[in-house]
Structures are given as C-alpha cells and as structure tokens.
Symmetry: C2
Subunit: 487 residues, 2 copies
Amino acid sequence: MSQAPAPRPTADLTEMLATRLPRITLRPAEPRYLEEPRGRYSAPSGMLALPRDTAEVAQIVAACGELGIGILPYGGGTGLVGGQVDQGGAMLILSLERMRAIRAIHPDENVLVAEAGATLAAVQAAAEGAGRLFPLSLASEGTAQIGGLLATNAGGVNVLRYGNARDLCLGLEAVLPDGRIWHGLRRLRKDNTGYDLRNLLIGSEGTLGIITAASLRLFPRPARRGAAMLVVPDPAAALALLTLAGGQIGAGIEAFELIGGAGPDFLREVMPEVRQPFATAPDWMVLIELGLGPAQDPAEALEQLFVAAHEAGLVEDGVIAQSEAQRAEFWTLRESIPEANRKIGAVSSHDIAVPLSSVPEFIARADAALAGMGDMRINCFGHLGDGNLHYNVFPAKGRSRHDYEALRPAIKEVVHDLVHALDGSVSAEHGIGRLKVADLERYGDPVKLDAMRAIKAALDPAGIMNPGAVLRAELRTGVTPRPGGTG
Amino acid sequence: MSQAPAPRPTADLTEMLATRLPRITLRPAEPRYLEEPRGRYSAPSGMLALPRDTAEVAQIVAACGELGIGILPYGGGTGLVGGQVDQGGAMLILSLERMRAIRAIHPDENVLVAEAGATLAAVQAAAEGAGRLFPLSLASEGTAQIGGLLATNAGGVNVLRYGNARDLCLGLEAVLPDGRIWHGLRRLRKDNTGYDLRNLLIGSEGTLGIITAASLRLFPRPARRGAAMLVVPDPAAALALLTLAGGQIGAGIEAFELIGGAGPDFLREVMPEVRQPFATAPDWMVLIELGLGPAQDPAEALEQLFVAAHEAGLVEDGVIAQSEAQRAEFWTLRESIPEANRKIGAVSSHDIAVPLSSVPEFIARADAALAGMGDMRINCFGHLGDGNLHYNVFPAKGRSRHDYEALRPAIKEVVHDLVHALDGSVSAEHGIGRLKVADLERYGDPVKLDAMRAIKAALDPAGIMNPGAVLRAELRTGVTPRPGGTG
C-alpha cells in the first residue's frame, strides 16, 4: 500500500521525458536547486524542467503522470521545511521561474494578476508602480516566488492587518495532477459557486497541483507610516499593549513584532553593522508599525500610545521613528535576526503559534523546561499579533550546534508537546514540507488527516505531486498503471 | 451511475432511525422546515432530528450512513437557493437549533466560540457584551444560524472591510460524512499544518459534512461610526467615489452600498412607513458607512469626502447622518429593500458579482438587453464595494409575476450569460443550493467541477450529505452497501 515512487537514474528519466516533451527545456539541475537554506536537506542530483507557459506545465504534468514520475515543484527555494528538496533525486524539479509576467494590473479594482514565477519583490514593485500596496512581506521577498508563497500560504509581518497569503488571493490558475488546467483566475470579492478549490490548493505545498498564476488583492497605500521600538517588561505586557493599541488605533496597526533580548545580542555578536535603538539590549522589545490615512499623524498616535502604555506600566522605554530612515533601521534590525540566527547556527528551530492569550504561558513554560536540559540560548521573536513565535534554540556562547545533536529531538519534542497542550500549531507559517510529516501525524487531528489522505488520493491518484511532502508518499492501490508507467 | 437516494415513506424512515437512535428527538417537521422564504421550493413532509450535542450529530450521521438515508442540514432556513429544502421529502432534516451555546469568549484574543445553532444576532450580542465586534451582518441575522452562515459562506454588508464568513472563521468542529468528529476548533491566526479543510467545508453547503461549532474572529468596536447617503449620477461615479473614499479614509470604510432608484420606489409603494432621505428617489444612491478610531470624527471625514466628490462631479447631493437614529434610518431603508422585493414579487432574482471595474458595463448592458424583452422594472442594489449586485427583475406596475412565468428562463439566461462573459459569478453570496446546480454546470470551470466531484466522492462516498445540492445527487458505483442500507 505505502511505497515511494521507485528512484530512477537521472539519465533514464531525462531520456523518457525528453522524448515525450521535445520542446521543453530539461537540464541537469544546478546545486542551488538541490539544497534548502538551512542545509538540512539536499539532493545528490536532479533534472530540472523550465516551462515557458501554462500549457507547457500541463504537458509536463501529464507526461509525468503517464511515466509515473514524481514532480517536485520549486519556487524561490527559500522554504524552511524541505518541501522543495527531493533527497532521492528521482523526481523532476519543476521551476516556473520563466513564467514571471505581471499579466495585468487593475488599480481601480485593487487587483493584480501575476504568474507563479514572479518574485514577491517584483509584485510589490508592480503594485507600488500603480500606486497600490501588495502587503505580503517577509525576509526572503527578493527570492520567494508567488507560486511558492501561495503553495505554502506564507505569512510574514503584515498578517495582523492584511492576513496570510491565502487572504490576499482572489483566484488561481493551476495545473491539476491529471494535467488539465483549472482556469480560476477570478477577480471577484464574492463568489460562492462551489467548493473552495482555491484555498485547498493554497497551503497544500504542491501536493495537489501546480499554481501557475494568481489574481492578488491590492490595497490603498497608507498615506502616512510610522513605527516605534518599545521596551516592554515581559510578553504579557506586550499582549496588553497590543490590546491597548487596538482600542486606540484600530485597523491602522500594520505589524506588531515581539523581539526577545537574544535577537539584538546575536546581532551584536555576528552582525555588528546593524544599528540598534538601545545601548543595552532590553529583554523584550516590540516593533509596532502604523499605516494611517492622510489626516492622521502616526508619530502623534504612537506618542499617545506610549504615554498611555507607560502610565499603565506596559512600556518602560521607547523610540518613535523620526524619519523614514529610522523606520527602515527598525525593520533592518527585525529582518536581520534570521540571518544572525543562521550565522550562529540553531540547535532546533520552532515556528509555532498558540492562542494569543497563551503566549506568555508558552514562553515561560518552554524556557523553564529547556533550562533543565542543558546550557542553551533561546532566541524568541515573531509576529505577536498573530500568536506566531519563532522559538529557536541555540548553543551556549562558544559552543557549536554539533555539540547538541543528540539533544535536538528531545528539545523539539518538549517544545512541540507544549504547543500541542496549549492548543497551538507546530507549523504556524512554514508548512509541513518533509521536515514535519511525522509531527503532523503525531499532533494532527486523525479525522482531518484521513480527510486529507482521501482528498490527496482523489485528486492525485497516482501520487505524482510532490510525493513525500505533507503526507507520506503512497502509490495508491487500485490505480491502473498507465502506458509507460510503473504503476 | 447517477441516481438519487430512493425516496422512503416517512414512517419507514422514522422507524428505522428511531430504533437506531433511541435517545435522539425525531419528529415530523413543522411546515417552517419544509419551505424556503421565496416559496420556490417546498417539501410535502419531512422528519426532523434535533440533536443536543456534537456526539448526537455524529450518531445521526453514522446511522444515516448505515441506512443509506440522505441528510438535509437545516440552519435558520433563510437560504435563497433551496439548499435547505428536500422536495422529495425523503431525507432526514437535521437542525442544530438546540446547539446554540456560546462556548467561550476570549476578548483579549478577539475570538468567540459558538455552536452552529447560535443565531448571528446572538453571536453579535455576545461579542458586543464583551466590548467587541462580530462584523458579519445581513438582513436575516435574527434567524440565520452560524452553521448555515458558514456552510454557505455568507456575505452581507461589511465584506468590504471584514471579508466573507470564511474570513471570519478561525476553526471548525464538524461531523464528517463517515460520522467521525473533526476537532478543529483552533483559535490561531496562523496554522499551516496540512490542507485547508476548514475552507473546504465552509461554502460546501452541507454536502461534505455538518459544522457543529466554530471559533470566530472578533474585532475592536470602532470607537466612532458615521454614515451618509450620497446621490451619484451613475454607477461609474459610485465606483470612482469608492476609490476616492479609499484614498481619503482607507480601512475605515465599513460598507459601501449601491441603491438603484427602484428600491426607494418600491418602499414608497409597499412599505411607506420606511423614512427616506430624499423627497424624490434619486436614480442612484450610495450608502457609505465609516467606523473610525476615537481620534477621528466620521462626520468630518464624510464632509471632506462629500466636498472632494462634489468638486469631481461624482456626487450631486447627500445627507450625512447627524445622529445614531438617522444612521439607523439609512440602514433600515437599505435592509428593507429585500422585504419590499418580496412583497412585490420578483420575476427573476440574480445574485451576481463581476470585477469591480465591469460593474457599470454590466448594469448598462443588462438593462439594455432586458428592455427589449418586455415591460419590466429592475431593482439593482447591492454591495458595490465587493462588485456584488442583486439585480432583480420585477413585473411592470399593476401586473403580476405570474404574467412573466414564460419569460423567466430567458431573463435569467440573458443576465447570467452576460455575467459569465464579464468573468463574473452567477452566485456571489447565496450559493448554489438546488436552484443553481444547472447554472454551475453551464458556467463553472469543467476542471474545477471534476475536482469537486472527486472530492465529494472521496469524503462522502455514499452520497448522504445534502444530496442534490451543489452537485447532482449520485450514488457512487463501487460503494459496498452497508448493513441495513440500500446502497
């Protein structure tokens, strides 16, 4: 019943596909397609397909279906859970990087239609060029592509106000596992005609189809922006500050980031060029960003918030950005933390979410549990407004992550068990990929898992779409082998 | 291959279920469960099940699965497409009206957990009691229930700012067609652990499972509200006004409703008690509502908008509400239009959406096409901010809808063909139900339809969940008849 697609030698795969698809670029994949950023997963080699349009994607998918070849959908390659790496080297790597057109912009509708290979930065720039905002924003935006961002339902720093990637998508064009094209590029805000196939594909990590284009929501650009770095005594105070800010400022809050003391410390250690707002790194800071209308002054709103929060004992110190340059500095600090983390080298990283009111309890209990396991440093930061923390564990200063290899599984288990006990998620924004398949089996609802397996079997009966990601690879029984395939 | 579940005499059905479910209330359904509001669909009789908790719902679904009995999920009964009516009288009507608890409110998380039988008004009141806003709002909110609102992905007047029902739901508890309970009542803003089963159930109109409870998003209550009725020369001006307002006010726009001249005319004719802001009904009005923070004055913002719009020739006249009472009057007018429509009796009603920039073209072309078909009145109104119009066709004054029976199919076809040509939706917010199954087959994307059928067959292989709604009823081949069932 359960069996991964048989590994094939690359030459064999190439030959079969090249015969079947004479006009499509197929070539051995360069190293960058074979490794994920943290170096946890890599493939020995691979064959890369570079279609130029949706029809070619459909031909590739159909051919792979017939030949029984697994397809590895590859976006910008910035995923952190190994969804884009085929360790067996037997799948066809399918990159839509040549399909990067902005097909249309409708500023009066606040809609933009982009092909899957367009980078997030390109889409942001196109929106800006039309006087609009595409609010998805995350550290890898220069490389990450729309197709991958939707396939993984990316989050980032502006979810609080604008939602996750799925909330920013109005319609999709996609190739389904049978090689047919779904023309679902709607530009509608309301459309109740049948099941929500759009949201089913979004977040399915390429296991149910290949997104080839998307119509995306744009927004008016906030007329005035402002930001502040506020020092809070603890995470509970940061939460209370968020509620206070919600009452004072409402929908104008664009981001609300919690930054634990280790972040600035790490930056001082490995990226001293990053400017810091406080001479000594506070234990906890909040980076709050406002986007307001033309009649409102963000600095004034932040000043009022600071005064009220200070009186309530929620804020101890703070800096309100006095210029665009200073606002940019705050964000450089925030967005440099993942890079500092990579330089130091995490023992175990956790992309978790818990119900908002459980955030302080989670941090306190996780810190306490890990303190008893060894000498480690914890860098806890993230999107507090979404209850989403990156709770990452590092070696003590002067030691290496390799000293902790043996501890890693226990650390992850402690953190994830606690998240689960608090009714949280062990993958808030990074997805399941290959890294967390076992976690999903352990912590996921069994009824939902069975429903997922049934949906996967129904839409991809041959199991060719990113096999091994999200769900264990299975070649289904009862599927008639197709001509040329191995069944 | 295609075959509806065999109709059963009610007595037979009762007996079998009563034996199987001795502790669950089963009784003949009163007339209110057998008819939809417009009187287009009715059932001769029916058997009603009234479970008290989720476990009982699961028992009912399991029993119906074993016995091969179709289940008709029944919410508030306010649906407009016949999804809640079984004309054959052979299904079990399943109402969750006894399951109406507000299970929890977390004001600090902006989350509320409600059972499916809670009315929208009850959820709104509970949120208000906690100082929060549940923004879903529509004419039938006193009767419509959370389960039905989610199953149909209800829209309403505040979609522009807060989204459709699916955007307001963080998690679900549901009974799947195999009678098992999915415990998915998450309270998380980010959770990328597997396929989006939540959004698949939302909008599936009870054909993939029974929603038993939901965790819902709350929002801060806008500190200050304001509204205006503005007279615009035409729909294109109304759209330009929306863009202008977006630039001036941003996220503070809570609703933006277009009201064609027939609405006020109809109200004068059949509901003269409804107060009107203008002595003569303008051809086109916009009702705009703002929800702002404590530091902003909505009347001032509306005044500024009026001045700028008047200068640009977008607005001819207007009234800004000077009190809460006057704001309520504006909404009474807007929300009374459906009731006036019912009193007059539509020949054909259309709940359509087109891309925002195509709205003026749609109205002009539909008006022109219908003008050539006979003497009719058109009441066009709706949620312009969402591109969603209720484009309803009525008899000429003094004539009856029955005079137009023969014309109705042609009218619907003209309107829906035009919507389709403009890349729109023939069911923007009301769903497919039984009324629009053929429309979905005609206008829907065939690849999506096949995917929907595959998903339906995978999750509900026996076809017991609301058979005949959304998709044609099918008893699948290859399903082994279960003990006691007819297969």
